[in-house]
């Protein structure tokens, strides 16, 4: 290929005990939107860090515009026209947009000049951004724009984006894609890292798929089905969750006018949430993280106690009941954060089983623990949910994220809840574990339980939900049947789309 912008040849990088990249070769043309696909741990991060000069490869070489390219630090990579937008933003909340951008510059001009350039770039690429606003007040989507504009000011030849849409609403994704298309039309290549296959099919022209550090395939995502790409990623035939048609049952969880103040300074207050869940159904709750998801789970699990009358379980008022009384009645929950919230990292799996299962699994008698029963229960969770671990005596922190998540979900599901509330069930979990967890949720609903599934992943919610509603700034929209909902409708329900005008750009 003569017009290759960046070519990788035989890149290999090994860490003690694991080969992160093994003989990786591919090339990106100017103006191409190139997807890098792979599960967690497939080596995507190591590869882009190599390109960005954060990691030195053990062997292999790169060429950029025909010249040898071996950046020893990000500054060198940036100087040669490689820019990167990280998944986690590195911005100072207390500073303005312009100040944040000036901080990242080698030789920053005056504030006013920075602001003018920010304005010019944001207008040019359809990224509405006020340079004088304080970053702490911006939404996640706007913060990402700050990062993107920061990169664009360097006039990059190659822009690397790591999971850019994980924090965006569908409308914001639309704005982002317009920008990327514009950049691509101007000849900037984009290396787009994601595991959201539908997005990749929308925006990317080429894809390289990594598995266990190796390139296992390339494809044109516009002509390849999401399923085929997923199977290349996972290396096996993917199990698609099955749902059995079922009649709607009785209302089992009834939330009426649930309001609660923010539990801490960075929390979100819940405002007048009303919804009911029936046996056998999955209620999906979408929304960008930080809109009250943690608080809603806490109010239902009993971590936050709310006023009497706000939450009823099987007709009984449990608004003011403590967590274990709710468990005894059949309401179980799994919070988002695995380490330190859903599980205690330094405790064994047996002890972690005791954490929530003591009441329902009769693991205590007169307050004394029956460690034999606890161990047996933990072993059952490990066996039934295919948790990869040497045994129940291992510390929770020794498990990988996906395995611990399977344990956490399994621990609650095996207690046969009447209502199960779960927040981000497959966050940071590899595709096969995610499929298993979703199947478990559907099976639980099929067995007659009500499931409340809170997630940022809209594909996931569409896969499991019977009804869908959205949480935005602590308020819950009215639920609607999930079947037949379009992306636009969901976006409007999420309502969190900032600056809804989708980039009016003069082409």
């Amino acid at each position: 290929m003569t017009d290759a912008l960046l070519t990788l040849r035989g890149l290999t990088k090994a860490y003690p005990g694991v080969v992160a990249n093994k003989d990786v070769s591919f090339s990106i043309r100017s103006g191409e939107v190139h997807a890098l696909l792979g599960e967690n741990g497939a080596g995507k991060s190591t590869l882009v860090k190599t390109i960005y000069g954060l990691v030195k490869p053990d062997s292999g070489s790169m060429t950029l515009r025909g010249e040898a390219f071996a950046p020893s630090e990000p500054r060198e990579a940036r100087a040669k026209g490689v820019a990167m937008v990280f998944q986690h933003f590195s911005l100072f909340d207390a500073l303005t947009v312009a100040e944040n951008i000036a901080l990242g510059m080698e030789d920053p001009p005056k504030q006013r000049e920075v602001a003018a350039r920010v304005k010019a770039v944001s207008a040019q690429y359809g990224l509405p951004l006020d340079p004088w606003r304080v970053v702490g007040e911006l939404s996640a989507g706007e913060r990402q724009r700050v990062e993107i504009v920061r990169c664009l000011l360097q006039d990059p030849k190659l822009l690397i984006m790591d999971e850019p849409t994980s924090v965006l609403t569908p409308q914001e994704v639309g704005i982002l894609f317009e920008t990327l298309r514009k950049l691509s039309a101007e000849g900037t290549a984009i290396l787009y890292i994601s595991h959201k296959l539908e997005e990749i099919r929308t925006i990317c022209e080429a894809a390289t798929i990594l598995r266990l550090g190796q390139v296992v395939g390339t494809c044109d995502p516009r002509e390849t089905s999401a399923r085929a790409m997923a199977e290349m990623m996972v290396g096996q035939v993917l199990h698609v969750p099955e749902r059995a048609a079922k009649p709607a049952g009785d209302v089992v969880l009834d939330i009426t006018g649930l309001s609660a103040p923010a539990p801490h300074r960075f929390g979100t207050a819940l405002e007048d949430i009303t919804v009911s869940v029936r046996t056998g159904e999955v209620l999906g709750i979408g929304g960008v993280a930080g809109n009250g998801q943690d608080e809603l789970v806490a109010a239902l699990s009993g971590e936050i106690r709310v006023k009497p009358g706000m939450v009823a379980l099987k007709g009984r008022d449990i608004g003011h009941s403590p967590a274990n009384a709710r468990r005894a009645l059949g309401l179980l929950a799994a919070p988002e954060e695995r380490m330190g919230h859903a599980a205690a990292p330094d405790m064994t799996l047996t002890e972690n089983a005791v954490m929530t299962a003591a009441t329902r699994e009769n693991l205590t008698s007169r307050g004394f623990l029956d460690w034999g029963r606890a161990r047996a229960f933990a072993s059952r969770v490990i066996a039934d949910f295919d948790v990869r671990t040497p045994g129940p005596d291992n510390a929770a922190r020794s498990l990988s994220g996906g395995n611990l998540q399977k344990f956490v979900i399994g621990r609650e599901v095996l207690q046969k809840p009447d209502v199960f509330v779960v927040n981000q069930p497959t966050w940071g979990v590899d595709a096969s574990a995610a499929a298993a967890i979703r199947q478990a949720l559907l099976d639980l609903a099929a067995s007659g339980a009500a499931v409340v599934c809170i997630s940022q992943d809209l594909d996931e919610l569409m896969e499991v939900s019977d009804r869908f509603c959205a949480l935005n700034a602590g308020r819950l929209s009215d639920p609607r049947p999930a079947q037949g909902l379009t992306v636009e409708e969901i976006g409007l329900m999420l309502g969190g789309a900032h600056d809804l005008e989708v980039a009016h750009v003069d082409a």
């Binding site: 403590p322 919070p335 919230h341 990292p345 330094d346 954490m355 003591a358 004394f368 623990l369």
Partner: protein, 360 residues
């Protein structure tokens, strides 16, 4: 370069090795220190660690070790609950003093009645006094978020003033010819806490300490309350999720440690000390913090650590009187013990990775 990386599992070996290594390091560095003071390090170390146990006068020192170890163990067991749950009661010394005052006061109020019921009544009063003194920082923390470390520590100084004023005023012996100090409780049959077997040093405080060790062991390993204590310390958010009420946990831990410290004070004032005096407290409440950590907050470990620290007290006195070692040097040795333990303890959860380190 040397970096520390977290072990996937806490090392079983290091859990047991760390205290032994800490003791060994203390002996070595302590020896260097004693040499710098112009003493023969070997004779000082032997005076402190060997003579009380196996020396010529060990028949006299061994009971003394038990007498010193009992309050240390009793207090440290109480503290270990709080320390495991992340509740930092630093004021056991104050709770110890107040327990002694309330226990003694109840006894003295009934003087000179002759009934065996008085001593148990005093035991209850002592425990309640320590409990109440511990509740002050506990309630302030739960209600107002006041830092329990500072409040409990400052209450030690309040308690010290209190015991001085008691010795001079309310509880002063009417037959003391104006000298400060209460009646001698160990010489009044109704309130005495005597040696239960002659020549062993075993008094009711020693029995209570052993019961506390067993009680704590069972609670922490078998009871849901002990499980919740450990869970709260390791992952406070997970504990809340598991249904633990954090405020109640603070109160329970402050209560337990306060009550046990109060008990220790009561057994001391009715036995070895015998009376409320201006300088009644000798620092058991603070040394017990070292005992608790040296014993890895484990009841059996605390039992051993309490005996070890008592040994350094007794051995330190021998070294002071026989070899002219300054008293501060012995305190330094005790401090060193905790210092080295905390340092070596890192190895339980981390392992050194020498050389290779990657810029992530």
């Amino acid at each position: 370069m040397i970096a520390l990386e977290k072990r996937p599992q806490p090392s079983k070996t290091w859990v047991y090795l760390a205290p032994l290594l800490a003791v060994a390091l203390t002996m070595i560095v302590g020896g260097v220190l004693f040499a710098a003071l112009g003493k023969n390090p070997f004779s000082v170390i032997s005076a402190i660690f060997y003579e009380p146990l196996f020396g010529e006068f060990s028949f006299y020192y061994r009971p003394q070790i038990l007498v010193k170890a009992a309050p240390l163990i009793l207090i440290a067991i109480g503290l270990s609950f709080g320390f495991r749950a992340g509740v930092w009661n630093i004021g056991a010394e104050g709770q110890y003093i107040v327990g002694a005052i309330t226990g003694a006061a109840v006894g003295l109020a009934l003087y000179p009645a002759e009934t065996r019921l008085i001593f148990p009544l005093m035991v209850v009063a002592g425990a309640l006094g320590g409990w109440a003194w511990g509740m002050i920082p506990g309630l302030l923390k739960v209600k107002f978020g006041a830092n329990e470390i500072l409040v409990s520590l400052m209450l030690v100084y309040v308690a010290e003033r209190l015991v001085a004023s008691m010795a001079l005023g309310l509880l002063r012996s009417p037959e003391g010819r104006g000298f400060p100090g209460s009646r001698n409780l160990s010489q009044w049959a109704s309130s005495a806490n005597p040696e239960l077997m002659a020549g062993t040093g075993v008094h009711w405080g020693v029995v209570a300490a052993l019961i506390a060790v067993i009680f704590a062991y069972i609670t922490l390993s078998r009871h849901i309350f002990g499980f919740h204590v450990r869970l709260t310390g390791q992952s406070p958010r997970a504990a809340r999720f598991a249904g633990v009420n954090p405020g109640r946990m603070v109160l329970a831990c402050m209560g337990i440690s306060g009550a046990l410290a109060g008990l220790a004070g009561l057994f001391e004032v009715t036995g070895p000390s015998g009376q409320i005096t201006i300088d009644f407290n000798v620092g058991y409440g603070f040394t017990a913090i070292i005992v608790a950590f040296l014993g890895r907050l484990h009841p059996l470990g605390i039992l051993l650590a309490g005996v070890l620290l008592a040994l350094t007290y007794i051995g330190g006195e021998i070294a002071q009187s026989n070899l002219g070692l300054p008293g501060a040097a012995v305190q330094l040795l005790q401090g060193m013990l905790l210092f080295f333990l905390l340092a070596v303890d890192v190895m339980t959860n981390y392992r050194p990775a020498i050389g290779k380190r990657e810029v992530a």
